[in-house]
Amino acid sequence: MEKHIPKYIPKYIQGATGEWEVVIGLEIHAQVASEAKLFSGSSTKFGAEPNTHVSFVCSAMPGMLPVINEECVRQAVRTGLAIGCKIYLRSVFDRKNYFYADLPQGYQISQFKDPIVGEGEIIVDLEDGSTKTIGVERLHLEQDAGKSMHDQHPTQTYIDLNRSGVALMEIVSKPDMRSAEEAGAFFRKIRTLVRYAGTCDGNMDQGSMRADVNVSVRRPGAELGIRSETKNVNSIRYMMQVIAFEARRQVDILEDGGEVLQETRQFDPASGTTSSLRSKEEAHDYRYFPDPDLLPLEFTQAFVDDLARGLPELPDAKRKRLINDLGVSEYNAAILVAEKDNADYFEKLIEALAHKTNKPKDELATQAANWVIGDLFGALKKTGKTISECPVSIQDATELLVLQIEGTISGRIAKDVFEIMLETGKNPERIVEEKGLKQLSDTGAIDVIIDEVIADNQDKLIQYRGGKDKLFGFFVGQVMKKSQGKANPQVVNQLLRPKLDG
């Protein structure tokens, strides 16, 4: 089915002297999902007491040596494959040298010239329905530093080395984004992909993902401008604030005849502004060189192929399948695949429904998708829960939808039953049973109700028979009301018409 996709239209910032284009590049730091750190066996568990997940290696004791954690290598390769990037069979770990109290070795082991993952590109969806391709420059593995705690003592800083040595993937985009919306979409897409691949949990509030945001502005089509780099932005909302603020700040400087400085900046969430951290002159000289404690990282194409086979279906492919094979709408499909857990819930539900009803999946998919997105997500949103904390099991959800599909309850009753399920945790069949919510399809019983309604509304009957056809709806409503919504609307329709027509 061909569908019209709106053309991508670049968005410019209106300045006093004309239009400006903002150019954005992101460096996303994603914590590798692994039990142990990149070069030591220490645990990576979040939220432990300070300095309890620290080995001799991650505290940089004299004579200690790094040994690569192979699972972290696999995770980096899986991520590269999920993003669709080139995988390098040989990469090199370098030392990035700088002094800081929470960097015990005095250097960070990273990858500089020869990263494990090279170029790729992803397609993001924009709000106007258009799409945009954004390039990925590279992905490399590196160690995280520890944490300085400045608020524990009036004059001293405390150091927590639990994070020291935890594996990070730095995913560097090309400077392909032109608005905060595009940057947000890129970040979300990367987060979706690492969650699908199972290589990063994507929890920004626990610091599992954060970004350095590079922003510059230029006249549309002109050479790239001087950029600022805002470090360690830890939410998508902040990232979009940084971009808006930096773009405006730089446009103002340029329109006042000034020059933007190449510098590192920091974001203040309270004010929504950025401020200078250090200028180009003050920039560190990291003195990168290959880490002599580690051999170059080498693996075979077979190793990569094996990991590729182990990857789950990725969001773009899943979305295509939901649309083409199951007939889910484009809109619903996009929502369902954005989070792997959501898509998994939906697919399990469809599976169970098909099994129970013996109907083909594509007949069930639209109703199930509407229920998941409308009813279930609505309820989760109200209670601030995610799908992983979903109070409704697949089994109960299936039961509820089957009751509806088989005509045992109406759509309206189904909404009531769902409310009760959320409140009480009871299963739907029991609720329907206990509350007597079963749809009335027994023609005899409905006949009685219809007769009563007609008897009570003789004036309306005369009007109907006088040609006021629209009153048919009134009679249906009255019958439904009298049956407390339980009467099967189709049966009511069938029985009511001949009686009214006489």
């Binding site: 505290s59 800081y100 005095g106």
Partner: protein, 498 residues
């Protein structure tokens, strides 16, 4: 009881096995002579109680028939090796009070085999030096002193070489039966040559570097300093192992090196590199080298002239690569986690004060050189170029080993020199390593063998360089050279109660 401290390691092993004496008796004798030899300053720490306890355990192993070549052998350990709960400071002020909670793999191997630790030996600070004069704990005195023209012993002190100067002095002065050393550019071989001992650096990757305080990671290797080649073979076998905790350690079977000492080198091809015949080389060194060639020929080896064309670049290359790695390896000594801390204004003030007070002049010089050669704008011209030359030097050797089995050279360009004689001239000091650094850069095994005395009766050494992981051929040649040279001189005792 006889003086057990004059035995070689192999003799002591055999004596222990036969029950002529116990490890406890042997160890006690050493503890006594160590006390008498303190003015040599070869030990920083004497681990008396540990030694006695280990000797007792070793005697148990011997009784139970679980003895290895090293069981019950009292040895000294260079302060560079981390030893659990025992002072391990690489002779630097900046590691003041540091007692690791772990044992280096090399020393753990030795203790596993029943060796006995007598103490930790002095060294050049962080192994940076060729005279053992850069130690925070003061210089080590060579048990050897020059003999003046009138036949009297010089009253001034001589350096034992470096950086494993404490280990070499302790063994040469009979204050230990053998000692561990570490060699980055010659730090085992040059002090062995200066003290009339055997010093062996195995192939890079043979010994685990885990728990060795790092100087230059791509060059550092542990090895033994012993009285004889046989002793070196026995001790090397114990020290060497593959270690999963060191990514540069190599997973290869460790052979019985002593079995390699067949005494037969007939048909062995010995390479003589013309580039080692340097301008201004003392006549007596050149003569010694020629004697070495003649001995090998007489033993049935074939002498082959070879060329190692990039030799002249080895020293400058080494003094770029090693300081570069050191500048990064030593960044962890910042006053935050362990060792010395000198408070200052804020974090950077504390860093500056701690590192200014904690590092000596030579260490600072190398950190500065290393930082410079890695800096933006200089990296390509220095570090990158040095790496390329390093590759060429390794290729020189590979080509040579297509034609020869081992290479024979002098170990050092001079005998031991007077203390203070070169300490103001870093270049003159660095030249000490001119014959030892090429093998280090190529990662090859090399050994220094005592081969004669200088005109003023100081020991001189010859070096054999082997193929990668072919320590056996090298040791076989060294064993023959040792016997041909018949070096039997001992230093005249000037220390302690005479």
């Amino acid at each position: 009881m006889t003086d057990l401290t004059k035995l070689t390691l192999a003799e002591a092993r055999d004596g222990l096995a036969k029950g002529d004496f116990t490890s406890l008796e042997l160890t006690e004798q050493y503890l006594t002579v160590m006390e008498n030899g303190r003015e040599m300053n070869s030990y920083i720490v004497e681990t008396t109680d540990t030694a006695l306890e280990m000797a007792g355990k070793a005697d148990g192993m011997i009784r139970d028939g679980r003895a290895t070549g090293m069981t019950g052998i009292p040895i000294a350990v260079k302060d560079l090796f981390c030893t659990k709960d025992i002072h391990s400071c690489a002779s630097s002020h900046i590691l003041d009070g540091f007692k690791p909670k772990y044992e280096s793999t090399v020393t753990a191997n030795l203790w596993q085999d029943g060796a006995v630790m007598l103490g930790k030996t002095n060294m050049d600070e962080f192994a940076m030096g060729s005279s053992n004069e850069t130690s925070y704990y003061g210089p080590v005195k060579n048990p050897w002193r020059a003999t003046k023209e009138d036949g009297r012993l010089d009253e001034g002190d001589y350096v034992p070489g470096g950086s494993s100067g404490g280990s070499a002095a302790a063994v040469a002065g009979d204050l230990a039966l053998a000692a561990t050393g570490s060699d980055t550019g010659g730090s085992i071989r040059q002090p062995a040559a200066f003290t009339g001992l055997v010093g062996m650096k195995p192939t890079y990757g043979r010994c685990s570097r885990w728990g060795m305080i790092a100087f230059a990671s791509s060059l550092d290797q542990a090895g033994p300093i012993t009285k004889t080649v046989r002793d070196a073979a026995i001790m090397m076998e114990s020290m060497a192992s593959y270690d999963g905790k060191d990514s540069t350690s190599v997973d290869r079977n460790v052979p019985n090196y002593e079995h390699a000492l067949t005494g037969d080198i007939r048909g062995m091809k010995i390479g003589i590199p013309k580039e080692y015949r340097m301008d201004g080389m003392p006549k007596e060194i050149e003569k010694l080298w020629q004697r070495g060639i003649d001995w090998m020929k007489a033993a049935g080896a074939e002498i082959i002239d070879i060329s190692l064309p990039h030799t002249k670049y080895a020293l400058p290359t080494y003094y770029i690569v090693a300081p570069a790695e050191a500048s990064s390896n030593l960044a962890r000594y910042d006053g935050v986690k362990y060792g010395l801390r000198v408070e200052g204004d804020g974090l950077s003030g504390m860093y500056k004060n701690t590192r200014a007070a904690g590092f000596g002049a030579e260490v600072k010089r190398r950190i500065l050189i290393g930082t410079y050669v890695l800096s933006a704008g200089y990296y390509d011209a220095y570090y990158l170029k040095a790496q390329k030359i390093r590759t060429l030097i390794a290729q020189d050797f590979s080509k040579a080993y297509e034609k020869v089995d081992v290479i024979l050279t002098p170990t050092a360009p001079s005998p031991a020199f007077a203390m203070g004689g070169k300490s103001d001239d870093p270049i003159a000091m660095y030249l000490n390593d001119v014959f030892t650094v090429p093998a280090s850069l190529a990662g090859l095994p090399a050994i220094s063998i005592p081969a004669g005395l200088s005109s003023d009766k100081l020991p001189l050494g010859l070096q054999l360089i082997g193929r990668a992981f072919d320590e056996e051929t090298m040791l076989r040649a060294a064993h023959v050279l040792e016997h041909a040279a018949g070096f039997a001189a001992k230093p005249k005792i000037w220390w302690g109660e005479k």
